[in-house]
């Protein structure tokens, strides 16, 4: 253990000892100091609201201590205080806080008045510090947890899409337990790092850790969820989105992309024992837009002729270049004659209705000195793809306890168990139902694939996948997987624990120590079938094909921190300052093993294998056991100066030391400065203006999140003996770079917040400008250098934009209320510098086979290019002459563009990142009935459709119909300008449409990813007042029933055949590329919430 950690732990320990000391021996100390014993007295009273009605739930606290209580249902309270107590503070959200001098009284009654200027006033900011929002010089948006409960999604973040300005959420269509893409104020860094914000759950920092489907291979082609799956929306008390770097500066490197602060429930004081129960049932249905692109006129065949023999189908059955469908019995892959007629929506016949049944029960209670809540939640979900199941159980405890009048303990524990069974294979040309059904001709009914998935012929092919086409291995019958029981199990257990001790040293100074423990285990187990994608179950050496893998990952994250903080007023001035330190240590280990070349068929176990991971010469980099260890140590502090409730100035500083960097230069200092000006204080005479604030901030943060431990050093692989001789090689395709430094994000923000017309209109505008420099980049290098990539501090980019929130209550009567809210983000991204002369960097070449720029998806490139927006898609286009006419070859075939900005014929066609995102929420309430209607949209991004390309080159799309009768003459000209008259005969159509892929002509496959969606309609009814009228039901404190429909309708889209949101991956590598993801779903939800 390092000295530094020793010292931090020592600090922690000392702190706890000191606190303990005060608990155990405090009395003794006191007796030794001053003889006069402090007396206890009891103060009681009643609190009323502005109408004189009793006011339950008001917090009553002795100033400068944690001694406090809350008013009971009849508005009364009773509090034991020591005789030296001076002042009581009464507070309730939305009401002006009152400080009342005790002055020897034992009865204090008080009426609270609403404070219109302070709605949403208390904001949970960095390190869990609660602040009045007027003191903030930056943008912080509080999310209403109710919305996440009424409009429930399996991954809670998905329900927030479009709800918060600046927060761009993109859920991939990748199964029930999948991750979401979360980006705050754009994508701060190029792909490769962690570009999602930091989540802080009760003070415990948690990376999103999205394990999206980012590539090929059994693991990478599936979305394995993210850490947000571990949080139950029913447990959330508050959620605050800290968008800017200033808000996050105090979290240092981990919060370079902003932070989302979540506090879970821990009951409230003096409320007695209560039980709450939520039950929710959701069904999901695949949305089918295929009729926009699929052709239903021609069946399997080539050169305009249907296949005549079973062998021909098996050899070439993927082609849809046959004859016009005529219903005449025609041979299929299984030798059966079936009518030659259309079955175009097979994928949707294959998919099923997804379900999600979630139940949460919570028990909470509170006495005079503390409160608690414990909850248990169970989710049982099935995906729309058969065999995909997702189960999770979340156990959550929150405890608040005043150990003494000055010492307070807060304890939060969240335990989650997740089982993700058979997450679908998406975004890959290979296994997966979507790829299969989209790329097979339409004349074979789905029953044929279902009933003849396994080759029935006795002999060497027996038991293997019944060959359906010539691309076996790339286009595989999903029923084979289902029936032979291919499995992929992903089980996660995660314990998040936080213990916080806070000691009030004086009425203006406190000290706090906190220990966060995050322990996760992840067990994965999967197989590849003996005969999947092959015509035999046997290897050349007579063993059985297939593979069986197990992987166990254990990780421990420990964060220990201390904080000393105080605030004091000096006349019109106020000072609030804190100083703290943190050590973050992350350890993880991976145990894995696999076996292949099996002895016994259909048995997937290690012992059944004859070649194992450790002895596999084809997999020389394989590590059966590996570890990863990183540390970041930090010191930080901040100070806030206030003047008369009018002006606030906030300065923060933090220094991080990183273990993954070269010791010669491994630390980074992050400063920030922000201010707010409550100009409404000077305009008290303006009745229309209830509250007005101008805010401004500047901050600098940074991150090393793209640097992995140990990667600065070249390592070697030792390969198993080759005929007795051990061989060695070099590991990996990345050239190590030991001289990396953190990258830096500098952000400026200017904001205006106004509440007007008696609080009926709220306006919040922010303008931000965020520049990332010295990015840590996986730079593609010539593989003639021996390596494919190297990490470098190169490149800078800029995200800038405007965030707007307008909320209004246009209409309100006693019974009816209409509130409307519109948020919009305009985001402009620009690559400023890529660090090389060409001004462009290739991220992924989708048609390539060389890792990591390996798309193997056939079309285009993703690049970062100076002067252009981030995530720029490139493709070749038709070759055109100066008049813009398409040029063809002398035989009338397509030609691809040449030259262009990078001299390869590839041209930029736009960014995958939308420029405009937003949502419009309308809430109508009539008495106890609430109707919510939410529309959201994204505009300004581009997408390339691999589905359309593949369906076209294989003869399944409407586009591929051109020329089926009599051949095709491309609407173009020859080099001499004469119009094209060369006919591409029917027999060559397949070649012509393949030209798009072979020449990489992208024109017909590029679309805007824009959409407008009627995202949700929800209806909820609160039965509480109805129940109150029935005396026998008085034990029920509340009952709400709600129904919601999500993805009600797509009001506008450009991409044909698919929902533009049906993306494969929550990562940044395959941005803008649509390929073989599941269809998106419409879901119907019914939720019951009861409180006892």
């Amino acid at each position: 253990m390092s000295k530094c950690h020793l010292s931090i732990y020592a600090s922690m320990l000392l702190f706890f000892v000191v606190c303990q000391h005060s608990v155990a021996f405090g009395g003794g100390d006191r007796t030794s100091i001053s003889p006069p014993l402090l007396q206890q007295l009891t103060i009681s009273g009643k609190v009323t609201d502005e109408t004189g009605a009793t006011f339950p739930g008001v917090n009553v606290v002795v100033k400068g201590t944690t001694t406090g209580t809350a008013t009971s249902a009849d508005g009364t309270y009773s509090l034991d205080v020591s005789s030296d107590a001076v002042t009581l503070i009464f507070s309730f959200v939305g009401y002006a806080q009152e400080e009342v001098a005790i002055g020897g009284r034992t009865t204090i009654n008080i009426a609270l008045t609403p404070d219109v200027t302070s709605l949403n006033e208390i904001v949970v900011t960095a390190l869990g510090v609660q602040k009045e929002s007027k003191r903030l010089g930056y943008s912080a948006t509080t999310v209403q947890p109710d919305y996440m409960i009424t409009n429930r999604t399996t991954n809670m973040m998905e329900s927030l899409e479009g709800k918060v300005a600046g927060l761009n959420i993109t859920p991939p269509a990748a199964g029930a337990g999948s991750s979401t893409q979360i980006r705050l104020r754009g994508q701060a860094a190029f792909a490769g790092g962690n570009n999602s914000p930091l989540f802080v759950v009760n003070g415990l920092p948690l990376d999103q850790a999205a394990a999206g489907a980012n590539g090929n291979g059994q693991v990478e082609q599936r979305d394995r969820g993210d850490n947000l799956q571990n949080i139950n929306p029913d447990d959330i008390e508050t959620m605050t989105v800290l968008k800017g770097a200033t808000a996050a500066a105090i979290y240092g490197a981990r919060a370079a992309n902003g932070a989302i602060i979540i506090t879970t429930k821990s009951g409230s004081k003096n409320q007695g024992i209560g039980v709450d129960f939520t039950s929710s049932y959701t069904t999901s249905h695949a949305l089918n837009f295929m009729d926009e692109i699929v052709q239903t006129e021609y069946g399997a065949g080539q050169a305009g002729v249907r296949f005549a023999t079973q062998g021909a189908v098996q050899g070439n059955g993927q082609w849809g270049w046959g004859e016009k469908l005529d219903g005449v019995p025609t041979v299929n892959f299984d030798g059966v004659m079936r009518p030659y007629s259309a079955h175009p929506y097979q994928l949707f016949d294959f998919l099923q209705t997804g379900t999600n049944f979630t139940n949460t029960v919570g028990l909470s209670g509170g006495g005079t000195n503390g409160s608690f809540r414990a909850s248990f939640s169970n989710t049982d979900a099935t995906g729309i793809q058969p065999s995909n199941e997702y189960k999770k159980r979340i156990f959550n405890i929150g405890i608040n306890q005043n150990i003494t009048s000055k010492l307070k303990l807060q304890l939060n524990i969240n335990y989650a168990n997740e089982e993700n069974i058979n997450p679908p294979q998406v975004g890959t040309q290979g296994e997966g139902a979507v790829n299969f059904f989209n790329r097979m001709p339409i004349n074979t009914p789905i029953e044929a694939y279902r009933d003849n998935a396994i080759d029935p012929n006795l002999g060497p092919t027996f038991g293997s996948e019944y060959k359906t086409n010539g691309f076996l291995g790339t286009i595989n019958n999903p029923y084979y997987q289902l029936q032979k029981k291919q499995f992929f199990l992903d089980e996660k257990n995660r314990l998040l624990g936080t213990a916080t001790l806070r000691y009030q040293l004086t009425d203006w100074l406190y000290a706090q120590g906190r220990y966060n423990y995050d322990r996760g285990t992840n067990f994965m187990e999967w197989n590849v079938l003996n005969g999947a994608g092959a015509t035999t179950v046997l290897n050349a050496d007579g063993t059985f094909r297939g593979r069986y893998d197990i992987r166990q990952i254990e990780s421990t994250d420990i964060n220990a921190d201390f904080l000393i903080g105080g605030n004091k007023d000096f006349g019109k001035f106020s000072v609030d300052a804190s100083f703290g330190g943190n050590t973050w240590r992350r350890n993880s280990s991976t145990n894995q093993q696999y076996a292949r070349n099996f002895v016994v068929p259909d048995l997937y176990s290690i012992k059944n294998g004859t070649i194992f991971g450790v002895t596999d010469p084809d997999n020389t980099g394989y590590q059966p056991y590996s570890i990863s260890e990183t540390r970041i140590n930090s010191l930080y502090g901040w100070a806030e100066l206030g003047y008369n409730g009018l002006l606030y100035l906030n300065v923060t500083g933090r220094k991080d030391w990183f273990s993954v960097l070269n010791p010669a230069d491994n630390s980074k200092f992050y400063p920030s400065v922000s201010g707010s000006f409550i100009f409404s204080e000077l305009l008290a005479d303006q009745a229309w203006l209830t509250y007005g604030k101008l805010r401004s901030s500047w901050a600098r943060v940074g991150s090393v999140n793209a640097v992995n431990p140990y990667e600065g050093v070249l390592t070697y692989s030792i390969n198993p003996p080759f005929n007795g001789q051990v061989l060695a090689g070099i590991n990996g395709t990345g050239a190590p770079n030991p001289s990396l430094i953190p990258f830096t994000i500098t952000e400026k923000e200017l904001g205006l917040e106004m509440r007007m017309f008696n609080n009926k209109v709220l306006l919040d505008v922010a303008v931000f400008d965020k520049v990332t420099t010295d990015q840590i980049l996986d730079v593609s290098i010539s593989n003639a250098s021996g390596y494919n990539t190297t990490k470098q501090n190169k490149a800078s980019l800029k995200n800038s934009g405007v965030e707007l929130l307008i909320e209004a209550t246009p209409f309100e009567t006693n019974d009816f209320k209409w509130t409307t809210s519109w948020n919009n983000t305009y985001l402009k991204t620009e690559v400023l510098d890529v660090g090389n002369e060409s001004g462009t960097i290739l991220l992924i070449y989708f048609n390539g086979t060389t890792a990591p720029a390996n798309g193997n998806e056939f079309l285009g490139e993703l690049r970062y290019t100076e002067g252009l927006a981030m995530n720029q898609l490139y493709t070749r286009t038709y070759l055109r002459n100066e008049e813009g006419e398409i040029l063809v070859t002398p035989t009338g075939r397509l030609r691809a563009s040449t030259g262009g900005p990078i001299n390869t014929g590839y041209f930029p066609i736009g960014s995958s990142i939308p420029k405009y995102t937003g949502g419009w929420t309308n809430t109508f309430s009539y008495k106890n009935l609430i109707l919510g209607v939410f529309i959201d949209y994204k505009f300004g991004g581009m997408v390339m459709s691999s589905t359309l390309l593949n369906m076209t080159r294989q003869g399944h799309s409407k586009m591929s119909l051109g020329g089926r009768e009599g051949g095709l003459i491309i609407d173009g000209v020859y080099d001499n300008g004469e119009p094209n008259t060369s006919v591409i005969p029917v027999a060559s159509l397949q070649g012509h449409y393949s030209d798009y892929r072979n020449l990489q002509i992208g024109d017909p496959f590029v679309f805007k990813s824009d959409f407008v969606k009627l995202r949700t309609i929800s209806l909820s009814y609160n039965f509480s007042s109805a129940i109150k009228k029935v005396e026998k039901l008085n034990f029920v404190k509340g009952l709400t029933l709600s129904a919601a429909c999500r993805n009600v309708a797509i009001l506008y889209k450009d991409l044909p055949g698919l929902d533009p949101e049906s993306v494969q991956s929550s990562g940044d590598f395959r941005a803008g590329y649509e390929g073989s993801a599941l269809p998106t779903t419409r879901s119907y939800n019914l939720t019951l919430n009861v409180k006892f």
Partner: protein
């Protein structure tokens, strides 16, 4: 109040402690992976790199019409149809630079000037020359001195060097290395050609150096012969020097390795089993074997009951029953009604494929430099008068015998008998004594070189371009090559994207990055 002061004091101590240790004391240790191999014996890197790339069925073997993929399946469209498809040209590049080159460069870096590793260093120099000779032969201008140096010298975008310049340096490298090999120096046990565990094993440095001198000189002979069109006098001198230095004299000198077929498999052959319905033997090659009743034929060709399932389907290996797919014809033409071709069989075409139990077995040996190759080159050199010892006919016949003997190494073969060899050698299409003119003799020799290199596509392709033999008809599909042959492989598209400047310069110098540009020794 005193108690409170106490606490303040303690907190102060906390802070001081926090600062005092510095905050990164053990970070270097924390960031060191205790399980990673960060030091390695360079001999093991060398051994790993000896398994260098010798061509693929879909590329080099298809260009020289031994093999064909007669279908337009988009991704597999390639040399069979004269198309310049990235994935077909890349393997030689990717596997050479990303495999052997970087390991050999790193090994040399680790060895430095260490006199105790003198022989290892010089073996590496020779083998590195072999790898680069193949790269120049395949692509023309290629990255050379800069190549493989991302880690050692931070060169990420290597420059391409003129092939002739590289060849000159390869000559220097080989001759210097040969001179420096020391019979009294270090024994490199890990050497998988001649080391302790090798097929042609040795156990003393004296014996090993003898083998490496023969290997080096045979490579030098190969290098010299490449000049036969572009600079015969230079070629003649190098060949004479190599011959005088001592080249391979029997199969016991062969540089080859043997796969066990289960743990280590010959990946190129294993790949042949996937998509087997698309993979066939080409007509010119089948006709050569049939016409001469080649006893190797039954181990090279097979007609499978279902060409789509060669791994499991029964095979007919009778030579007379073999048919190769004609060049420039695609599957839809073959299977079309009333076509003049042989139509379909099973899930594939009614044609022969490579014999998956022998030549195309995952357990087949892989030959890099052999006595058979060497002896054929000597036959031509003798005929040209570049060497003056021995007879061309003897070199020629010894080469064929030696190659036939090598078939013992393939699984499932029975030794070809001397009488079979003699019968073959007296076949009118093989018999050396029937050839009269130089050209007839060159055709005989280099046609045999083509057969001998059935699993070394790099060599088969290079020698075909150099010698002009065998006499093949150009593939006229779409006539994309203007009635000619593929003269080189094209650079990976990734190079155009990533190493653009150097790529463009090299392409321009070559006269375009296409299949018709020529490498320096391949003058029309």
């Amino acid at each position: 109040m005193k108690a409170i002061k106490h606490y303040k004091y303690s907190l102060l101590i906390c802070s001081v402690l926090f600062f005092s240790g510095g905050c990164d004391k053990d970070f270097e240790e924390i960031n060191t992976n205790p399980y990673a191999v960060v030091k390695i014996d360079p001999a093991l890197l060398f051994a790993g790199a000896q398994r260098s790339h010798v061509g693929t069925w879909a590329a080099e073997h298809t260009i020289v019409q031994q093999f064909v993929i007669p279908s337009n399946q988009g991704a597999t469209l390639g040399f069979s149809l004269n198309a310049d498809i990235d994935g077909n040209s890349n393997p030689k590049w990717d596997q050479s630079y990303g495999g052997a080159v970087r390991s050999l460069v790193q090994a040399l870096e680790l060895i430095g000037e260490d006199p105790a590793r003198n022989n290892l260093r010089n073996m590496i120099r020779i083998w590195k020359a072999q790898v680069f000779m193949g790269l120049v032969d395949a692509y023309g201008r290629v990255p050379y001195l800069d190549a493989g140096r991302a880690v050692t010298d931070l060169i990420y975008y290597p420059e391409y060097v003129d092939g002739a310049v590289i060849y000159d340096d390869l000559y220097t490298e080989i001759t210097e290395a040969l001179a420096e090999l020391d019979p009294a120096g270090d024994f490199v046990s890990a050497d998988i050609f001649y080391g302790f565990n090798a097929e042609n094993s040795t156990s003393t440095s004296a014996d090993q150096v003898v083998k490496w001198k023969k290997l080096g000189n045979s490579l030098l002979l190969r290098l010299g012969m490449r000049y036969s069109k572009v600079n015969p006098s230079k070629g003649s001198a190098i060949v004479a020097e190599a011959f005088a230095g001592g080249v391979m004299t029997s199969n016991a000198d062969n540089a080859y390795i043997k796969y066990d077929g289960s743990k280590y498999v010959l990946a190129e052959n294993n790949n042949l089993r996937n998509f087997s319905a698309q993979n066939y033997a080409a007509e010119p090659f089948v006709e050569q074997l049939k016409a001469t009743n080649d006893p190797r034929g039954k181990y090279i060709l097979a007609a499978y009951a279902d060409p789509g399932a060669v791994a499991t389907s029964p095979a007919d290996t009778v030579l007379a029953n073999q048919f190769g797919v004609p060049i420039g014809v695609i599957d839809t033409e073959i299977t079309a009604e009333g076509s003049p071709y042989r139509g379909k069989r099973g899930t594939g075409l009614n044609y022969s494929q490579m014999n998956g139990s022998a030549i195309a077995s995952p357990a087949a040996p892989e030959f890099y430099v052999t006595y058979a190759q060497t002896s054929l080159l000597l036959a031509e050199a003798r005929q040209r008068g570049w060497i003056t010892t021995g007879s061309a006919q003897t070199y020629y016949e010894e080469a064929i015998r030696a190659d036939m003997e090598n078939y013992d190494l393939y699984p499932g073969t029975i030794a070809i008998t001397p009488s079979e060899m003699n019968t073959y050698l007296s076949d009118p299409l093989v018999d050396f004594s029937l050839a009269t003119t130089d050209e007839e003799i060159f055709e005989l020799i280099n046609t045999q070189y083509w057969v001998v290199n059935i699993r070394n596509g790099t060599e088969a392709f290079a020698n075909f371009r150099r010698s002009g033999y065998p006499a093949l008809e150009p593939n006229l599909y779409n006539d994309d090559l203007n009635g000619g042959f593929v003269r080189r492989l094209s650079y990976p598209d990734r190079e155009a994207s990533v190493n653009t400047e150097n790529y463009l310069a090299a392409s321009e110098a070559l006269g375009g990055d296409n299949l018709l540009s020529r490498v320096f020794w391949d003058v029309p």
